[in-house]
Amino acid sequence: MSRDQIAEELPNLAESKLTALVVDDSFVNQTIHQKLLNRLGIENDVVTNGKEAVDVYCSGRNYDLILMDMDMPIMNGIQATKRLREMGIESKIAGVTTRANEGEKQEFMEAGLNDFQEKPLTISKLLSILHKLNFYVQT
């Protein structure tokens, strides 16, 4: 998808200076998710598990969007999402996982997600997340 096409899908995205946090223990997925976000002009950081995500927020950082993997060592996506919501964090959290059975998806959603997408992420799926979470400036 070219920058022009992306700009049509999400007007004013370039001006919105969105920030995102990628939470995933896989280097392959970290690289892909960061590239997807870069392509859409979204500044981003990456951490490798749920505990690091919580620590980053405890240190005072904040992000508009979190892309949260489910299966991670030390603290998984469900635990991290619950913890962040308990802390009062209102960032939009999109669960991204290969686990697709309804029970697991439900459990993840109930932890406090705003949206859920099956991996692997693509430009269309990321745009779908951004649309769903109303990430564009209303004119």
Partner: protein
Amino acid sequence: MDTLIAQLQRQFRDYTISLYHQGFLDDQFTELKKLQDECSPDFVAEVVTLFFEDCEKLISNMARALDQTGNVDFKLVGSSVHQLKGSSSSVGAKRVKGLCITLKECCDTQNYEGCVRCLQQVDIEYKTLKAKLQDLFNLEQQIVQAGGRIPQVDI
């Protein structure tokens, strides 16, 4: 008469198509190619390199676990194959992903022989894919060195 560039481009096109048709790659590989641009001209090569590093590490972990005959930690094997399935899915490594699904099933039923056989197949399959992608990247290099552009291949 075809120029060298045209010949290389045709070879590249045919080889790419064959990798999809033979089931080595799927749509997700196409998605990775879409992300490659002037800012990151080696993006696909970088991601697949990370994937092959994953393969080596996780297959080695699983082999070690399966070596503990009589005391195999199937949970460890299961979590390693889940990770490998995830990264193979993310790069479009279709055959590797399919074998990971089968290996997971063997693991879930604690089918030891099945796990050993399947793991051997995963090992062969990722090495085969690695060699084929190396050939593909070599073709790309040859095209660029000859002064040509890498053609867009519609699958």
